[in-house]
């Protein structure tokens, strides 16, 4: 085809025994439309679904977790705060000169950076106001 690029031009290529390009293209556009149509219908439906009471309960739980959970979550929330104080104090005795830096490092390493991001998020989620936001702004 490189030698005579124009030789091979023909509308007949559109419909061959084994492949009907027009038919296929219509089908393809149809599939693209139906895909995005389903998505937009789903988006329209979602807010209503989220209103259903059942959902509320299941989503509410985190705000008032079960006993076992409470212990862990609750304790975690406290220790984050108390631990910071304890750590700051204990480190203060050892490296008075570089308090801030080490305090930060100490905390950052004990409660590894790798996990802290998730943890902090977690706390904010348990925090009611953040939770409210998460459930839908108002």
């Amino acid at each position: 085809m490189d030698l005579s690029p124009f030789a091979n031009i023909s509308v007949s290529h559109l419909v061959t025994p084994e492949f009907n390009a027009i038919y296929f293209s219509l089908f393809g556009m149809g599939l693209v439309f139906s895909g995005l149509l389903v998505i937009s219908l789903y988006i329209l439906a979602l807010p209503k679904l989220l209103k259903l009471p059942g959902w509320w309960r299941s989503r509410r739980r985190p705000e008032t977790p079960g006993a076992e959970e409470e212990v862990v979550a609750g304790a975690n929330r406290d220790d984050e705060v108390l631990l910071a104080i304890a750590t700051a104090f204990y480190l203060h005795q050892d490296f008075p000169e570089e308090q801030e830096k080490i305090t930060f490092k100490g905390h950052g390493d004990l409660d590894s950076a790798w996990k802290i991001s998730g943890r902090v998020r977690g706390l904010s989620m348990r925090n009611p106001s953040a939770m409210r936001r998460k459930i839908g702004g108002k």
Binding site: M1, D2, P5, A7, N8, I9, S10, V11, H13, L14, E18, F19, A21, I22, F24, S25, F27, G28, M29, L31, V32, F33, S34, G35, L36, L37, V38, I39, S40, L41, Y42, I43, L44, L46, P47, L50, R59, S117, G118, R121, G122, M125, R133, K134, I135, G136, G137
Partner: protein
């Protein structure tokens, strides 16, 4: 070993006019990126890659992307196997905010309408004598998504990957030049003045659930789009989940940057004049331009059609954003809209068809792949 053989090895000896021309094109890409600020993050790497790819090859030394064992060949692996595009989609998903789309779902259909450019170009390519596989890969240029174009052609028409990728990225960069005339052609001054009411607030929970459901819908309908859309929606879930911020952050920064650098420079380097400057490539560029025109028109016309049925009219300009080329075409809509009414802010509304266009062309790619990948 003769010294003369050295001069034979220095590039000058082999420099073909084709290479010189391509080097000129590479410099123009870099110029457009730096001075005109057209898609600089893509055109600078591709432009410099074109320079690298057109240093005349030395027989027996593995240097070019096509020479087995060369460094560029190893880096090109991510292009030729279609690995880089999904990783780029992962990063794009981690930086995309679908809330405007969630707040006004009917605008999503504009992103579907623009895909007419893909299929008309597909048929046009068949008429010009390309094989169905090649035609499908060329058609997807109309999707105005570089990664999607690279992914599909690496799967069904690897022999055309270079020209298709260059065409796709070139026209994406030229969107501010290509689209305005078409937008003026298809819209009246009155239509361009239409204002749309601000989008509703979208709850965090809607944002979190969206990528999961949207992925299932698209992947079920067109499994071929799974690779691209899976990563796009996965990246978006990392962003919206609120508990994986650090992963989303790395995905939309170091990961996407590194992949973009490697993809850009190797795609550029794949344009050696010897293989690139062919009649086929010229056809591909003509068809590519056509596809952008058709896609833009498709979005505009469909928007006008929708207005026949909608109570509260939409501004047809935003139909042009359906071609994606995120977020440039949305910016063009904003710019053209403001020319007639400086206080009219269409950018937010244009983002809905814009991101929908990304999904739309990924689905189209999936359909083309599953239909043409077989035989």
């Amino acid at each position: 070993m003769e010294i003369s053989s050295f001069f034979a090895n220095t590039g000058f000896a082999h420099l073909a006019w084709g290479n010189a021309a391509m080097i000129g094109i590479g410099v123009i890409f870099i110029y457009l990126a730096i001075v005109k600020d057209y898609e600089p993050l893509l055109l600078v790497p591709i432009g410099f890659g074109i320079l690298i790819g057109n240093i005349p090859p030395i027989v027996g030394m593995p240097l070019g992307v096509y020479d087995v064992g060369s460094v560029l060949n190893y880096l090109y692996f991510g292009v030729s196997k279609g690995i880089y595009p999904p990783l780029i989609f992962l990063g794009i998903g981690a930086m995309t905010d679908f809330s405007t789309m969630l707040s006004n779902p009917k605008l999503i259909l504009l992103g579907a309408a623009a895909q007419i450019g893909v299929f008309l170009t597909f048929m046009g390519s068949l008429v010009l004598g390309f094989s169905p596989q090649q035609a499908g890969a060329i058609g997807i240029i109309g999707g105005a998504d570089g990664p999607t174009a690279i992914f599909l052609s690496s799967m069904i028409a690897p022999e055309l990957l270079g020209p298709i990728a260059i065409a796709a990225y070139s026209y994406m960069a030229l969107v501010p030049v290509i689209q305005p005339p078409i937008m003026y052609l298809f819209t009246t001054d009155k239509e361009r003045r239409i204002r749309m009411k601000p989008p509703r607030t979208v709850s965090k929970k809607e944002k979190i659930i969206f990528p999961i459901v949207a992925f299932l819908i698209c992947a079920m309908l067109a499994p071929g789009s799974m690779g691209l859309l899976g990563m796009l929606f996965f990246g978006n879930l990392l962003k919206e989940s609120t508990v994986t911020e650090r992963l989303a952050n790395s995905a939309r920064n170091s990961l996407i940057d590194i992949v973009t650098i490697l993809l850009g420079v190797t795609v550029g380097a794949s344009t050696q004049a010897q293989t690139f400057l062919t009649p086929q490539s010229i056809f591909i560029f003509i068809l590519g331009a056509l596809s952008f025109v058709v896609a833009t028109s498709g979005g505009l016309i469909f928007a006008k059609l929708m207005n026949l049925f909608l109570k509260e009219k939409i501004n047809p300009l935003i139909g042009a954003a359906g071609v994606s080329a995120v977020p440039d075409s949305a910016r063009v809509v904003q710019a053209v809209g403001q020319k007639v009414d400086p206080t009219n802010f269409l950018l937010m509304h244009a983002m809905a068809p814009n991101v929908a266009g990304v999904i739309g062309s990924a689905i189209a790619a999936g359909v083309l792949w599953s239909a043409l990948g077989k035989f």
